[in-house]
C-alpha cells in the first residue's frame, strides 16, 4: 500500500474543481492544488489578500513582493485578474460567492466540524488568519490533510477535541489514504488507495467509516 504524496492529494482535489468555479486555496498544502488544475477548465483563484485571478509563481527575476498569496509566496496575476481591498475580499468570502475553499485540517468530525487553527484552547499564540471566514463563507469546504498525524493518531474523529474553525461546514476530506464524503453526520469513503483494506483504513480512523457502493481506486492522477 502506497499512500499518496502531498502532490498526489493536491492533484486529486484538483480533479473535483469544476470549470468556472471561483476558488480559495488555504495556506500550506492546499496551495499545491494550484499546480494541478485540470487542463481545459478555467478556474479563478481568489486569495484573501485581495486578488481574483491569481496565476502561478513567477520566474525569480519577475518576483514582486506586492504580488503574493495568502501564504506570502510570490504569485502572478492572470489576464482578467482584479485587485481589491480587504473589505471587498472578505465580502467575497463571507457573502458566499466562492464555490469552493480548500483548507488544511488538524481534525474533522462526521458532523462537518473542522479544527485547523489551534491544537490547544490555551495556545498563547493562536493563528486564525482567514480560515474562520473561509469556513463560514465558502459554498463548499474541502479539507486536505494527511490521514494521521506524525505520531500516527487519527485526524478523522467522532468529534473534534481541538478548538473549532467552523461547525458543520466540511463537505469532503482528501487524505493520503482516501477521499471521504461528509454528509448526514457520517463519513462515507468514495476513494481508497490500492492495497489498503477497509479494516486497516478503519483502524487508522477515529470515527466509523461507511463505504460508497462503488469505491474508486485512489491514485496519484499526476
Amino acid at each position: 500500500m502506497t499512500p499518496l504524496s502531498r502532490n498526489g492529494i493536491a492533484a486529486r482535489v484538483a480533479l473535483d474543481i469544476q470549470d468556472g468555479w471561483h476558488v480559495n486555496l488555504g495556506i500550506g498544502m492546499p496551495e499545491m492544488v494550484a499546480n494541478y488544475l485540470p487542463e481545459g477548465r478555467e478556474i479563478l483563484l481568489h486569495s484573501e489578500n485581495g486578488i481574483l485571478g491569481m496565476g502561478p509563481s513567477p520566474a525569480e527575476e519577475d518576483v514582486d513582493w506586492t504580488l503574493i498569496n495568502a501564504g506570502k509566496k510570490p504569485v502572478t496575476a492572470l489576464p482578467g485578474a482584479s485587485y481589491f481591498d480587504h473589505a471587498w475580499s472578505f465580502g467575497i468570502i463571507r457573502g458566499r460567492h466562492l464555490e469552493l475553499c480548500v483548507l488544511g485540517g488538524y481534525q474533522v468530525a462526521p458532523n462537518g466540524d473542522l479544527a485547523n487553527w489551534a491544537r490547544d484552547a490555551n495556545d498563547p499564540l493562536p493563528a486564525i488568519g482567514g480560515a474562520m471566514d473561509l469556513a463560514a463563507g465558502a459554498q463548499r469546504i474541502f479539507v486536505m490533510m494527511t490521514h494521521n498525524d506524525k505520531s500516527g493518531a487519527p485526524k478523522l474523529l467522532e468529534s473534534c477535541s481541538f478548538p473549532l474553525t467552523g461547525a458543520g461546514i466540511v463537505k469532503k476530506v482528501y487524505t493520503d489514504l482516501c477521499v471521504i464524503d461528509v454528509a448526514d453526520n457520517r463519513f462515507t469513503v468514495t476513494d481508497m488507495v490500492e492495497g489498503l483494506t477497509r479494516e486497516e483504513l478503519q483502524n487508522r480512523t477515529g470515527a466509523p467509516l461507511h463505504f460508497a457502493d462503488q469505491v474508486a481506486v485512489l491514485k496519484d492522477p499526476a
Binding site: D19, G20, H22, E42, L44, H46, I51, L52, G53, A77, P79, G80, A81, S82, Y83, F84, A87, W88, F90, G91, I92, I93, R94, G95, R96, H97, L98, A136, G137
Partner: protein, 234 residues
C-alpha cells in the same frame, strides 16, 4: 471556459417568474441600465419588487413599468420625479407598496447582503419616524438603529467596460450603487458600452470584480418610442 457574454436577451430572465426582486443600478440617469430594463419590460414578468435609489421619470425606463402596472413594490430613498402622481394613485388603490429609507441605509443594506453581513447598526434615522418600531441601541452614548441586509433575485447593471469574466468599470459617477447591487443579487446581468478583451481592464482598476457578474450584454440604445409598447400589451 468562463464566458459570460450573451446575445440572446431571453437568457437574461430565463427561469425567473413573476414576483422577483430586481435591483437597478444608477443614480438618476447615470448608470441606469436602459437596455436591460427594456428587456425586462419585454419579458412580461410582473409583480416586480424594484430596488432602486430613484423612482424613475416619465413613461420610459423605470417609469414605463408603473404605467404598465408591472411593479408591486419599490424600495428606494427618493420617490420623486414625474412618476410621483401615478405612484401615489397606485398606492391609494392598494396596488403598490413603497418602502422609503435613507440613501446611505439603502446602500449599506445592499452592501451588507453582498458581503455576508445580515445586520448592522447605523446612526442614520435614529430619533426619526423612519426608526419607529425598529430595534435601537446606544453606542458611545449615541442612538443607533438596527438594519438588515437587502438581497435581490436579479441586479441590472450598466457598465462602461466588461470583459468575458465579468470584470466591470464605470464611467464617472455611473458607479454609485452598481458594484454593491452586483454583489447582492442571485443573478447579476450587465449591459456594457464596451465589451473588451480579457486584460484590457487593468487589475488595479476593476470597479466590480468578475465574481459578481453572471451575464454580459453589449448595450444598445433603446428608441424612445419602443418604451410605449406596453400600451399595446397592457
Amino acid at each position: 471556459m468562463i464566458d459570460k457574454r450573451a446575445d440572446d436577451l431571453a437568457r437574461a430572465f430565463e427561469g425567473l417568474g413573476d414576483g422577483i426582486s430586481v435591483m437597478i443600478g444608477g443614480f438618476g440617469d447615470a448608470g441606469r441600465p436602459a437596455y436591460l430594463l427594456k428587456a425586462l419590460l419585454d419579458s412580461g414578468i410582473k409583480d416586480l419588487h424594484f430596488i432602486s435609489n430613484n423612482a424613475g421619470d416619465g413613461d420610459t425606463g423605470l417609469g414605463a413599468f408603473y404605467h404598465a402596472g408591472r411593479v408591486r413594490k419599490l424600495s428606494c430613498s427618493f420617490p420623486r420625479g414625474s412618476v410621483a402622481p401615478l405612484m401615489e394613485k397606485l398606492i391609494r388603490a392598494g396596488e403598490f407598496e413603497l418602502e422609503v429609507m435613507p440613501q446611505g441605509t439603502l446602500a449599506e443594506r445592499i452592501r451588507a447582503a453582498g458581503a455576508g453581513i445580515p445586520a448592522f447598526f447605523t446612526p442614520t434615522s435614529y430619533g426619526t419616524l423612519i426608526a419607529e418600531g425598529k430595534e435601537t441601541r446606544d453606542f458611545d452614548g449615541r442612538g443607533h438603529v438596527l438594519e438588515t441586509a437587502l438581497h435581490a433575485d436579479v441586479a441590472l447593471i450598466h457598465a462602461e467596460q466588461a470583459d468575458r469574466f465579468g470584470n466591470l468599470t464605470f464611467r464617472h459617477l455611473a458607479r454609485n450603487f452598481s458594484p454593491l447591487m452586483a454583489s447582492a443579487a442571485k443573478r447579476t446581468i450587465v449591459e456594457a458600452d464596451h465589451v473588451v478583451e480579457l486584460g484590457d481592464i487593468d487589475a488595479h482598476n476593476v470597479h466590480s470584480p468578475a465574481i459578481f457578474t453572471d451575464l454580459v450584454y453589449q448595450c444598445h440604445d433603446v428608441p424612445e418610442d419602443s418604451w410605449h409598447d406596453w400600451r399595446a400589451s397592457a
